[in-house]
C-alpha cells in the first residue's frame, strides 16, 4: 500500500492543480495540459526533461542512501553549489591556460572535481556531527547559505570577468570544457547517461553489497546495528561523503554542461527538489529516476505556464509542496490507520 502512496499523492496534486488553475481564472484542462503533457512534446521537450532530471537523479540517489541510514542531509543544495564552484574552477583553469584537452577527459576531471568539492562540503557536516553531536539537519542547511555567499564572493570578486562590463560572472569557459552532448542540436549531455549509470550502481550497492546493507540497518533499527557491530560513525561519514559527492558532481555538470560560466545564479533549488524526489521515489534508486522525471515535468511545466498563460513560475514550487505534503499525508494515513473516536 505504501508503494502506491506516491501515485495517490500525484493524483491529489493534479486535482489541486486543476482547482488552482480554475481559481486563478484559467481553463484547468489547458493548464494541466501545459503542466503535464506539453513538457513531453517532441524530441526537444524530452531531452530538456532529461537535462533537468540529471541533477535530480544524482542528488536524490545520495539523499536516499542518507535517509535510509537515518542521516538527515538537507543541504544537498550547498554541496551542489560547491561542486559547481570546483567544477567551474577547473573549467576556468583550463580556459585560462588554453589547454588542448579532449572533452571526454575534461568530463572525467570535472566529475572528480565536483565530487571532491561536494564531499568536502558534506564532510564539514559529518565532522561536526561526529565530534560535537551537532544536528546534521541544521548544519547542512546553514551551509547552503554559506556556499551561496562563497559563490557570490568569487563571481563578484576574484573570479569576475575583467572584460565583462562589471557583471558578476566569470569568463565563458573554453569549448573543450563543454560536457559531450548526446544528440545534435539538443542540450542533453553525457551527464544524463552518468546519472542512469549511477542509479544502477546505487541499486547494486544498496541491495547487493554488505557495505550498502550495513548502512541501512542503523536507520530503522539502531539497536540492531549496535548488536551487529556496525559502526554508526562510519555510516555517518560514508553516507554524507557519498551524497555530497553525488550532489557535487551534479553541480559540476550543471556549470560546465548547461551554464558555460559561473554566475551568482547557480543555485536553482535542485538540492531541495531532490529531497522531494527521494521521498516520492520511496528512497529507491528506480523510484529516484521516475521521481526525477515527475519533478522535472513540474519544473518545465512551470516555465511553460509562465510563458503561455502568464502564470507565475512559482506555481511549480507550489505543486512540489502539494506533492510532498500529500505524500507525507498518505504515508501517515496508510501506516497509522487512524480512526475517529466515537463519543460514548
Amino acid at each position: 500500500m505504501t508503494a502506491l502512496s506516491p501515485v495517490i499523492a500525484l493524483a491529489i496534486t493534479v486535482v489541486v492543480a486543476g482547482l488552482l488553475f480554475a481559481f486563478l481564472g484559467k481553463d484547468p484542462v489547458q493548464g494541466l495540459r501545459i503542466f503535464l503533457v506539453e513538457p513531453f512534446h517532441g524530441v526537444r521537450g524530452l531531452t530538456e526533461l532529461g537535462l533537468k532530471a540529471t541533477p535530480l537523479i544524482l542528488i536524490s540517489l545520495g539523499l536516499s542512501l542518507c535517509y535510509r541510514s537515518n542521516v538527515w542531509n538537507i543541504g544537498a543544495e550547498g554541496q551542489f553549489l560547491i561542486g559547481g564552484i570546483t567544477g567551474g574552477w577547473l573549467a576556468l583553469t583550463v580556459t585560462e591556460a588554453n589547454l588542448a584537452i579532449p572533452r571526454w577527459a575534461f568530463f572525467v576531471l570535472a566529475i572528480l572535481a565536483g565530487a571532491a568539492g561536494g564531499a568536502a562540503w558534506a564532510s564539514i557536516v559529518a565532522f561536526l556531527k561526529d565530534r560535537f553531536h551537532a544536528s546534521e539537519i541544521l548544519v547542512s542547511l546553514m551551509l547552503v547559505y554559506v556556499a551561496n555567499l562563497l559563490l557570490s564572493y568569487l563571481v563578484f570578486g576574484p573570479w569576475k570577468n575583467p572584460a565583462g562590463f562589471n557583471f558578476p560572472q566569470t569568463v565563458n569557459f573554453a569549448a573543450a570544457t563543454e560536457v559531450p552532448r548526446l544528440l545534435r542540436g539538443m542540450r542533453l549531455n553525457a551527464g544524463f547517461v552518468l546519472a542512469l549509470l549511477a542509479a544502477v550502481a546505487m541499486w547494486l550497492f544498496m541491495f547487493r553489497t554488505l557495505s550498502g546493507y550495513k548502512l541501512q540497518v542503523g536507520g530503522p533499527a539502531p539497536a540492531a546495528s549496535r548488536y551487529a557491530g556496525f559502526s554508526a560513525r562510519s555510516a555517518l561519514w560514508s553516507t554524507l561523503l557519498l551524497s555530497g559527492a553525488l550532489a557535487g558532481i551534479a553541480g559540476a555538470l550543471e556549470v560546465t554542461g548547461s551554464m558555460g560560466q559561473l554566475t551568482p545564479y547557480v543555485a536553482s533549488g535542485y538540492g531541495f527538489t531532490a529531497i522531494i524526489v527521494a521521498f516520492v521515489g520511496r528512497l529507491h534508486p528506480l523510484g529516484c529516476v521516475l521521481g526525477s522525471f515527475v519533478l522535472s515535468t513540474f519544473l518545465i511545466g512551470g516555465e511553460l505556464a509562465q510563458s503561455r498563460i502568464g502564470l507565475p513560475s512559482a506555481l511549480s514550487g507550489v505543486f512540489q509542496g502539494v506533492l510532498l505534503f500529500s505524500l507525507l499525508g498518505c504515508d501517515t494515513l496508510i501506516l497509522s490507520r487512524p480512526r475517529w473516536r466515537r463519543s460514548t
Binding site: A223, Y227, A228, S231
Partner: protein
C-alpha cells in the same frame, strides 16, 4: 483458601457464569484459528487456557477482549448475550487484559502511560496515587515516575498488571504472566491472583507451564490446533495428563550427559560499569569464568544488571577496561561486537525486534546481521546462497514463516525468537551468550532450543544463559550464578542448588565467601 465453584458439568449455579463462550469459530482465510470452542468461567474462578503457540489461545482472548470478531458463536457475559465490538467495550463490561506484548510508550513515565489509556476525568496525580495504592495492595514493586524505556521486560509487565487492576475488573485475562518472575515473585503473584479471585474476580490464565497451572488454577481448558481437546480439574490432574491434552504427547526429555569443562573461554574480571542512566544498574565487581563444554546460568530478576552485563559481553557497550574481559586468553574489553563475533563469540539478545532483528527487513536480510557465509569478495552478497542458508535455519528450527523473504515483523514473537536463536546456534559458535532463550516459545520448540544448547555444550562450546526462568536454568545449566543489584553471586552447581536457595540469593543474600558452594571448577 477461597471457596470456588468447580464449574463441572451438571452443576446448578444460582448466579449465572461470569463468561460463557458457545461454539466460537474464527477463520483467517483457510486457517481455522478457533474451531467450535466453548468454555465457561464462573465468578471467582481461575481458569487456565492451556495450549502451545499457535493453538489459538491468542485469537480466543482477542475475541473475548473485542479486538477480533468471531465468525460464529455466542458470548455470554453474566448470563447475557453480548457483542464485544472493541476493547473499549470490553473494558466497559469489566474485562481487563495483560498482553504478552506490552503496549507502553517508551518516552513516557509509567504513570503517564497508564494515564493515557484512561478517560479524561482522571488527573496524573490521582493515577499516580492509585497505582501506588494498587501496587502496595498486591505487593508489586513499582515506581510510577520512572520512564518506561528504562524498565526491563519484567518491570514492564508489572506496569501492565497494575494498569489492569486499576480498572477493578470482573474478569482479568493474563497472557503468560510468570515468564519473567522469580519463584518467590511467582508465589507472590499467585497470592495476589488468589486474593483477587476471592473477591469474585474471574481470571483467565493463559500458560503452557503445567506445574503453575496445577498449583494455581481451578479449571483448565486445553486447545490444540484451534480445537478444545479437553477440560479438566488441574488440581487433581498430573503434569503428564495435562501435557497429553496440550501437545498430544508428553514433553520430550532432555538427555543430560556428564560435563567435561575444558579451558576457560570467556573470563570477566572485576567488571565495574557506571550505569548509563539513573534508572540503570551499575555493575559492581562482576567476575566469572566460563569454560568450554559447560553451560553457565545467570539467574536473577530482570533489572538487576543483566542488560548491562550482556551489553558489555556482546561488545555493544565498550566502556569496560581492556582486560576486564578476556576471550580465549586475549583482552577484548575494547573490541567491538563484530570483531568479537569473528573470534567466535555469538550473542542472542533479549529484545528480538529492533535489536536481534530489523523489524522491516526480511529474514534473509536479517541473517546478514551476524552471518557472513554468503558474502563474497568485495562484500558482494550472494542472494541465492543467502536464501538457501535462511531456508535451512527456518527448516532446522521449525520457524513458521512463509520463507526467507518473510519480513521479521510479520513473525510471531516465539517464531522470531526461534529464528534468532537458530541463527546464532547454526553459526557453530565457540562461545554463545544467550538472554532468555525460550521467552514466549512453545513447549516443543523450547525443548528443541534447550536440546540444541546442550548439544553445543557437548561439542565443546562455552554457553552462558541469562534467564529469568529458573526451571530453564535448572534444566540446562551446569553451574549457576545469581545477579542482584549489579553484583554477581558465587557460582553453585545445579546438582547442589535448590530453588529456595537461588530465590534467597536473588534478593542479594549470598555467603560472602565462596566456600563449598563453588561446585563448578573441578
Amino acid at each position: 483458601m477461597p471457596t470456588f465453584r468447580t464449574g463441572g458439568e451438571g452443576l446448578e449455579s444460582v448466579t449465572p457464569p461470569r463468561l460463557q463462550l458457545e461454539h466460537i469459530t474464527k477463520r483467517y482465510g483457510t486457517v481455522v484459528a478457533n474451531d467450535d470452542v466453548s468454555l465457561t468461567v464462573e465468578p471467582g474462578e481461575i481458569h487456565s487456557v492451556l495450549g502451545e503457540n499457535g493453538a489459538g489461545k491468542s485469537t480466543l482472548m482477542k475475541i473475548i477482549y473485542g479486538a477480533v470478531r468471531p465468525d460464529a458463536g455466542v458470548i455470554r457475559w453474566n448470563g447475557e448475550v453480548v457483542h464485544v465490538r472493541s476493547p473499549h467495550e470490553a473494558r466497559a463490561l469489566g474485562i481487563a487484559m495483560v498482553f504478552q506484548h506490552f503496549s507502553l510508550f517508551d518516552t513516557l513515565t509509567v504513570a503517564e502511560n497508564v494515564w493515557l489509556g484512561l478517560s479524561r476525568e482522571h488527573t496524573l496525580q490521582s493515577v499516580t496515587e492509585g497505582m501506588k495504592r494498587k501496587a502496595d495492595e498486591y505487593g508489586l514493586e513499582l515506581d510510577p515516575a520512572r520512564p518506561v524505556h528504562t524498565l526491563s521486560v519484567g518491570e514492564r509487565q508489572r506496569v501492565e498488571i497494575v494498569r489492569a487492576l486499576l480498572a477493578e475488573p470482573q474478569l482479568l485475562i493474563l497472557d503468560e504472566p510468570t515468564s519473567v518472575l522469580t519463584p518467590q515473585a511467582v508465589d507472590r503473584l499467585f497470592v495476589t491472583l488468589r486474593q483477587l479471585a476471592s473477591t469474585g474476580c474471574s481470571i483467565l490464565y493463559i500458560s503452557h507451564k503445567l506445574d503453575e497451572i496445577r498449583s494455581l488454577c481451578h479449571q483448565c481448558t486445553a486447545l490444540r490446533s484451534g480445537k478444545v481437546t479437553g477440560t479438566c480439574d488441574p488440581t487433581v490432574a498430573t503434569t503428564a495428563s495435562l501435557s497429553r491434552l496440550m501437545i498430544g504427547a508428553e514433553p520430550p526429555r532432555l538427555v543430560h550427559r556428564e560435563t567435561r569443562p575444558g579451558a576457560v573461554a570467556l573470563e570477566v574480571r572485576d567488571l565495574r560499569l557506571e550505569r548509563i542512566d539513573r534508572f540503570g544498574v551499575s555493575l559492581d565487581g562482576v567476575s566469572l569464568a566460563l569454560r568450554e563444554g559447560e553451560i553457565l546460568g545467570i539467574a536473577g530478576v530482570s533489572g538487576n544488571g543483566q542488560q548491562e552485563l550482556l551489553a558489555a559481553l556482546s561488545g555493544e557497550d565498550l566502556r569496560a577496561g581492556p582486560s576486564a574481559l578476556r576471550l580465549f586468553g586475549k583482552d577484548i574489553g575494547r573490541t567491538g561486537a563484530g570483531e568479537r563475533r569473528r573470534n567466535g563469540l555469538h550473542f542472542v539478545p533479549e529484545e528480538r525486534l529492533g535489536r536481534g532483528a530489523v523489524p522491516a527487513h526480511t529474514l534473509a536480510s536479517n541473517l546478514l546481521l551476524t552471518r557472513r557465509e554468503s558474502v563474497r569478495t568485495l562484500g558482494w552478497i550472494d542472494r541465492t546462497a543467502l536464501g538457501r542458508q535462511t531456508s535451512a535455519i527456518i527448516g532446522r528450527f521449525g520457524v513458521k514463516a512463509s520463507g526467507p523473504a518473510a519480513v521479521a515483523r510479520s513473525l510471531s514473537g516465539g517464531n522470531l525468537q526461534k529464528y534468532i536463536v537458530g541463527r546464532e546456534i547454526d553459526a557453530a559458535p565457540r562461545v554463545l551468550v544467550v538472554a532468555q532463550p525460550t521467552w514466549g516459545v512453545d513447549v516443543g520448540a523450547s525443548a528443541q532450543i534447550r536440546g540444541e544448547l546442550l548439544a553445543l555444550r557437548d561439542a565443546g562450546c562455552a554457553v552462558l544463559v541469562v534467564s529469568e526462568e529458573l526451571e530453564e536454568l535448572f534444566e540446562v545449566a551446569d553451574r549457576l550464578h545469581v545477579i542482584a543489584k549489579g553484583r554477581l553471586s558465587p557460582s553453585i552447581s545445579t546438582q547442589v542448588a535448590t530453588r529456595e536457595l537461588i530465590g534467597e540469593w536473588m534478593s542479594g543474600l549470598w555467603p560472602t565467601q565462596p566456600v563449598a558452594v563453588n561446585g563448578g571448577s573441578p
